[in-house]
Symmetry: C2
């Protein structure tokens, strides 16, 4: 990194279908300067998350899209490189939402302090941050698992799914994991401790799910949609709960699938089996419960009850490629870009 420059990944064109490298552009601008009351942030870690695909489109959503030529948005863990704000000192670690770039400026109001020397600062983007909090509230508040219930979790080695499944085990559920490929499935069983893991790429995936759920499905934590949901739907038990957290398999879709139209089938299933489906946006719905989550998760981590895996990619210049891979399930663990070395 040239310390006088600021590299920024901007949205160049809105993707049609899967994003391509040419939808992004890495531009070099001048390192920003700060006014009175402001701090200059040096990005150390950038979180890449599936929701960002939605920000690249201008379809109506819960948050406005990134404008063309604007810097891609995203959560970051930064260090204060210069400060004109008495609340922040050089070297302080903070959680920010400064996007895909080396440097940014803040008045301090949108920053969450992470201390002088946090042990694992990047965890604020994963297990202790949005993905971990999402897993926690979606499972515990919306699904309310009971001991002995069957919990199916897709993307089960990912940033959210891996935590959902492990909390499910803590709560006494039988956890059936779904992941892509043999390596992830072995990890899901042997490290994360899930009861079974099914490879969604297998030809007989739906049959394997039937075999793995002889008592049906009580909770399906929805992260993916598509053929996984299709296989889950007929197995749902009366009173099943479905927190709808993500639908990664359909983010790149350009049109609806061919018929028949199963909307009425889904509605009928919800009615007859009195199912609860609920979407949620973690900080909009649950910001007031973050402290409870942080305390509980810290406890579980210290007790060795939750394993957390990061997929670290070096260099902002690799962010676009890594993000494209994320939508294809190529990451293995929480995807984080190391943007710069710490101070």
């Amino acid at each position: 990194m040239d310390n006088m420059k600021n590299r920024q990944v901007i949205l160049k064109t809105r993707p049609i279908g899967a994003p391509k490298l040419t939808d992004f552009n890495l531009q070099i601008t001048a390192k920003p300067s700060i006014a009175e009351g402001e701090v200059l942030l040096r990005s150390i870690y950038l979180s890449l998350d599936p929701y960002m695909r939605g920000r690249m489109s201008d379809a109506p959503s819960y948050a406005p899209p990134v404008a063309l030529e604007d810097v891609m948005v995203g959560a970051t863990v930064c260090q204060v490189e210069a400060s004109n704000n008495e609340k922040f000192k050089l070297g302080d670690w903070v959680l920010a939402y400064s996007g895909w770039q080396d440097f940014s400026v803040s008045n301090g109001e949108d920053l969450l302090p992470l201390g002088r020397s946090p042990k694992t600062p990047s965890h604020a983007l994963g297990i202790m941050g949005m993905p971990g909090f999402t897993a926690y509230m979606g499972l515990l508040d919306i699904a309310q698992p009971k001991s002995g219930e069957t919990l199916v979790v897709a993307a089960a080695t990912g940033a959210v799914g891996s935590v959902v499944g492990q909390i499910g085990k803590i709560k006494g559920c039988r956890v059936i994991a779904i992941a892509g490929g043999k390596e992830k499935c072995e990890y899901a069983k042997n490290v994360l401790g899930f009861d079974q893991c099914i490879d969604h790429k297998a030809d007989d995936f739906a049959q394997q799910l039937i075999d793995a759920c002889p008592d049906g499905i009580d909770i399906y934590y929805e992260n993916v949609g598509g053929n996984v949901f299709d296989a889950v739907l007929p197995l749902l038990n009366t009173g099943a709960r479905i927190p709808v957290c993500g639908l990664i398999s359909q983010y790149n879709a350009t049109q609806l699938p061919k018929g028949p139209d199963r909307l009425s089938l889904l509605m009928g299933t919800i009615l007859v089996k009195r199912i609860k489906m609920q979407g949620f946006i973690i900080f909009d719905d649950y910001a007031h419960r973050y402290d409870e989550f942080a305390e509980q998760m810290t406890h579980w981590l210290k007790a060795g009850k939750i394993h957390y895996r990061e997929h670290l990619v070096e260099g902002l210049e690799n962010a676009s490629d890594a993000f494209i891979g994320l939508l294809e399930g190529k990451n293995f663990g929480k995807l984080v870009i190391q943007v710069n070395n710490p101070l």
Copy 2:
């Protein structure tokens, strides 16, 4: 009625699509006799409800189907015509689930006493019974209406919808009703006090709904499905709630509609707008709250805050035809068959 005979409406054939008169048969059997501990019940009122269509099919559902040649099931308000059970006296009124017939026998355990001379005994099948309770819990527990919100209720003059809308008004909602035909819409506005009523048979129904909901839809109480839900879906606000109580428009469907497949569209809407959809079966989910409901509803009725309309059809021999009409929306108010005169 020949007082030595028992007329029974039995399920003769399972309907394909809409039920036909020939799917039912009125058979005459002997009036049953009672053993020690039993009571003989004389049906005065029989409730006809859309859920009965599900019982006529052998597709998996939350309750077993009526067997061929068996008496059609249904809630009834009866009088005790003879008793070998010390808890019940001749002439007592009870709520039973004795089905489409003149007489039945009970050991008393499945009966809810309604007293010696209830003022409006048939109300136990409607406003004070399953439909009223369904309206109450679905709206208040699942949807949790807030003052100023827009509530859309379909089948708005029906047994459930009319109560949903009126409770919505009590809670300060703007209530947009949907009903079939001018007469029902006038009643919905002028008697039930709803803010607007839209005729779902109108060619420009979807546009009328858009115009009626300038601030979007916060709660949609789902009773019908089909083209009403299609029009509601794009108008749902962030955080909308959808209690799924019934889907009368699709009960007679023999196959899924043509594509495209909008299942992913519905899932995506639930996610992006963080919508809660929840099916429920009233006595399975909420039996423990019946007393609360009964007390509140009695209060509202006495205070004139809830209007209740019954559609009374004379004669068990007309039940099949009335039920077929119910699925077509021909009833106007809670459909009840007067099976016999009171003792």
